[in-house]
């Protein structure tokens, strides 16, 4: 059972205080997008064994979303960060590179 640091309220939250909200950094495709783009946005997910970026909600706490970079295989947490961003902050990417050299995920590396 995970613990994740909520960057919004500073609480080191137990997993029972949190709700997993799926993959982070999805780009929304709305009206006028191609069938393929929309399909990928709706259904296509990374599902990696290793470095992953996820949305979490501190549902029993401050009610805010945050993003987490962690390893799905070892459950190592590289860092948590604001949900109001389109890509992981450099510090998070550096933290991952230090632990998992050569990692890549979607467009990030």
């Amino acid at each position: 059972m995970l613990t994740l640091h909520c960057p919004n309220c500073g609480v080191h939250a137990d997993e029972t205080d949190l709700h997993a909200e799926g993959e982070a950094h999805l780009k929304r495709f709305g009206p006028d997008s191609s069938d393929d783009d929309f399909h990928d946005y709706m259904f296509q997910r990374q599902n990696p064994k290793g470095v992953h970026f996820e949305r979490w909600k501190h549902v029993y706490g401050c009610g805010k979303y945050f993003l987490a970079a962690r390893c799905t295989a070892t459950l190592e947490v590289f860092g948590t960060y604001s949900a109001q961003t389109h890509e992981p902050p450099q510090a998070i990417k550096d933290a991952i590179s230090a632990k998992r050299p050569g990692w890549s995920w979607g467009d990030f590396s």
Binding site: N8, C9, G10, V11, Y60, G63, K64
Partner: protein, 187 residues
């Protein structure tokens, strides 16, 4: 108004640790930019306290303020003064982007008082309630049994707990059962 009653109308489960429904309590959900000067000043004038730091609360009797999230405060005022307090906020915040709503009746307020009150809460919440970790002035929103709740301490033996009104009975029964089961002898 004379028709107004709190969820459990002051129900008490007395014991070494006593659980008491705290009656009607004025509460306002106040959302906005917490660094806004007008917000800070209306918070101070209504509660006597400034905007708390992250994870903190301050209260004195019926008045107080708690840090709920980066853009939300919980303002505590006497129940009968809630609408007037909201009017004061609306006046002070005119022209700003904010939200102030009366949630007094959407909540149940409970007190847990006694020597091992920390342990009563720790039986139900995953938070670290060790005296070195959680002190008077700290405010925590977390899970209590199967519901969302928030609590803070007013002294070394007293917790104030708030939860949604609809689950007030559950929260009361849960706390009363945990108090009745006795101390763990840990803290």
């Amino acid at each position: 108004m004379s028709n107004a009653v709190s969820t459990l109308q002051g129900k008490v489960a007395a014991g070494e640790v006593t659980v008491r429904e705290g009656g009607l309590r004025g509460m306002i959900t106040f959302r906005g930019d917490l660094s806004n000067a007008k917000l800070k000043s209306v918070c101070k004038s209504l509660t006597g306290f400034g905007v708390p730091e992250m994870g903190k609360a301050a209260s004195n009797g019926d008045k107080g303020v708690a840090w709920m999230s980066p853009d939300e405060l919980l303002i505590l005022v006497p129940h009968a003064e809630t609408n007037a307090a909201i009017a004061a906020i609306e006046k002070a915040m005119k022209g700003q982007h904010f939200l102030a709503k009366n949630v007094s009746d959407a909540r149940t307020h409970l007190t847990v008082q006694g020597l091992f009150s920390r342990e009563v809460i720790a039986k139900l919440a995953p938070a670290d309630l060790h005296p070195d970790s959680f002190k008077v002035g700290d405010f925590r929103r977390t899970r209590l049994g199967q519901i969302a709740a928030a609590f803070w301490m007013t002294d070394d033996e007293t917790f104030e707990v708030i939860c949604f009104r609809s689950v007030g009975q559950y929260a009361f029964d849960l706390l009363a059962a945990s108090a009745k089961a006795g101390p763990v002898g840990h803290f």
